[in-house]
């Protein structure tokens, strides 16, 4: 009996190998990144060095955040397991080089989509997972309640290598205010310097301000001013030149947003298979052959919803429940007064 066991296993292995070869579709052949990811068994994802709500590691090294969830969604779609992600924390300065040099395959690090970044440096933005805008934080005791009270000589702390540095210049120039930019390499030092009183204001994306405020020695002493001085659509980025991989990341994100639109959650996804609505059935893989276009099976989107949840669940878990930005603002669905609107999955 055992004599045959060995032969049997090798036979199974051979069949398995054969099977993988035959099922490897044209798309997978075309996408080097997809093939490499499946071979390695994990998605290589670049995240921030710690921004609560977006990408932040706990003491045990578990990453959470809405940027993290995008990578987890891709892992669920491509590898079947949302935990098969290798996270690489990157500074603002390192992030694009890490992506273009092939060290990571997805950059999901609160990165602003701009024309020059999209066109110039070998990157492709696949979508927006958070609509943000640049704002200013000041000490409550300063009595400042609006940016119109800023005066010549104000010092502003920020990060280098971000759109913030450019927006800040545009903003102060347009108001004709002379300012002192104090730019640090890492966010933690910006917070420490502002907290110590080095700067009168701290400027970055409003979501970032809300998240960093929780790190201050006394968060209640600081307020974020109401004005938004720029558009900051934040979203995941991939390398230019692999359109299949680009599509996979784009539609993994879109799936999460559309799932919320149709009320599909991680809890009810399986039951939705019997829904009457064909759009819902397509999203949970009960109708159509949507995955085939990427070289994935038909349950790819169901796995995303089941393992990661829809966008609303991700937002609630990471941003609302942690007290960073309880109000979704523009990041509400278009059906509920926000601007989250994705093309249909069909």
């Amino acid at each position: 009996m055992f004599k045959y066991l060995k032969q049997l296993t090798s036979l199974v292995a051979m069949v398995a190998v054969l099977f993988t070869f035959t099922t490897e579709s044209m798309a997978a052949k075309k996408s080097k990144t997809l093939k490499n990811t499946q071979k390695k068994g994990f998605v290589r994802c670049g995240v921030s060095q710690g921004l609560p709500g977006f990408s932040n590691a706990d003491a045990a090294g578990n990453w959470t955040g809405i940027d993290v969830d995008v990578c987890r969604a891709v892992a669920a779609a491509v590898l079947g397991d949302a935990n098969k992600v290798k996270f690489t924390p990157l500074s603002a300065k390192e992030r694009f080089t890490a992506l273009t040099s092939g060290e990571i395959d997805i950059l999901s690090r609160n990165t602003t989509w701009t024309l020059s970044r999209d066109a110039d440096i070998g990157l492709t933005f696949v979508g927006v997972n958070f609509y943000d805008g640049q704002g200013f934080m000041v000490r409550k005791s300063s009595g400042i309640t609006s940016t119109s009270q800023f005066k010549d000589g104000i010092s502003a702390c920020t990060n280098i290598g971000t759109t913030t540095e450019l927006n800040m210049r545009d903003f102060f120039n347009s108001k004709g205010i002379k300012y002192e930019p104090v730019a640090f390499e890492k966010a933690d030092e910006v917070v420490a310097a502002y907290d110590a009183g080095r700067c009168d204001t701290y400027t970055t994306d409003k979501s970032g301000l809300a998240a960093q405020r929780t790190k201050m020695s006394n968060p209640d002493e600081h307020i974020v001013l109401p004005e938004t001085v720029s558009k900051e659509p934040l979203g995941p980025v991939v390398r230019q030149g692999d359109s299949v991989w680009e599509d996979i990341v784009r539609w993994s994100l879109n799936t999460m947003i559309e799932a919320e639109e149709y009320g599909i959650t991680s809890a009810n996804a399986d039951m939705m298979k019997t829904s009457d609505n064909p759009a819902i059935k397509r999203l949970v893989g009960a109708e159509g052959e949507l995955g085939a276009a990427f070289g994935l099976d038909n349950d790819w989107s169901l796995r995303i919803i089941k393992q990661v949840g829809n966008y609303g669940e991700s937002y609630k878990r990471n941003i609302a429940d942690t007290g960073i930005l309880p109000d979704r603002g523009p990041n509400e669905l278009w059906t509920k007064g926000g601007i989250l609107y994705v093309p249909p999955a069909r």
Binding site: G122, I154, G161, M168, R169, D200
Partner: protein, 383 residues
Amino acid sequence: MNFKLKDIVPQLITVTAVVLVFGFFTYNAQINMENRGIDFGYGFLSQESSFDVQFSLIEYDGSHSYFRAYLVGLLNTILVSVIGIIIATILGVIVGVARLSPNYLINKFAAFYVEFFRNIPLLLQIFFWYFAALRALPLPQDAEAIFGVFFLTIKGLYVPAFIWQNFSVFFYSIVAAIIAIIVIRIHAKRVQENQGKQIPVFLISIGLIFILPLLSFLIGGVGISFEVPVLKQLATTSFIYEGGVSLPPELIALTLSLSLYTATFIAECVRAGIQGVGKGQKEAAASIGLTPNQVLKLVIMPQALRIIIPPTTNQYLNLTKNSSLAAAIAYPDLVLVFAGTALMQTGKAIEIVSITMFTYLTLSISISLLMNWYNKKIAIQEK
């Protein structure tokens, strides 16, 4: 033919290997960049930079070019290196001599300083001086005036600005004084060689450097006035000083930590140099009737310097290269401005990193050449 095959072959192999390795990496980089649609080129240097820099020695704002931003960073690096080298040298010499002092307290204090500061990583010291100082310094509105005109605050050190009248006359008077001193020194040397007479060059030099500029004030029409910094309110609890010159706390913290750190190594070089001169030299010099000052100036120091200069050159190079840690505390040096912000905004990683590396190489080699020239000048002149 003097060359032997066995001499040439290993060298040829080495050269070929080096060329091949570099060629391989260059080729690879080219292919990779082409695949990812990244252009290579230095054209971006003339584009508008559109970001501002906190502290600059030349006129600069975001409407200038990336090349101008590069110059801003370079000058800031040179500034902090030069100030750092000067302070580190003075402090290093004092501490080095103090370590040889027969006075127990001075001796032990110097030893403690050296051991303490050279054994803590520099980055930690920079963070310490920056954030500790930030926490300890008063807000502008609480700052006490030092001598009525200086204000040391969390936002920087504010000093009065000089406002000159006829500055060029003053400048030329100093140039004239320096030229006069050089002429007198050459003359004094010739007089001593020919007639054996000594001219008190040092006293004359000091006199010249004071008297000529003083004359420029009295008869040259040079005037000077001060602009003292004045407190200005920005908001209920937010103030700054206006007028005068402000030195950002980043510059102060960086200079302080670089000098304190490097001075420990220079102190050890100085101690080694002085201890390296034989005891007999001093005794022999004294026995031919030289005064203690002459012994130090003519016998001990020329020999000690020969031992001190080469390792001190290393420390100067280290200080210059270590100044790139500035990026951690927002001092806008070459790395922060050019290899940081400019790199990010343009995405030209290879170009900018190569320029930055080449710049540091040039800086280091310049310091090296200068010190080697000085070293050769004071080396034993074999006749």
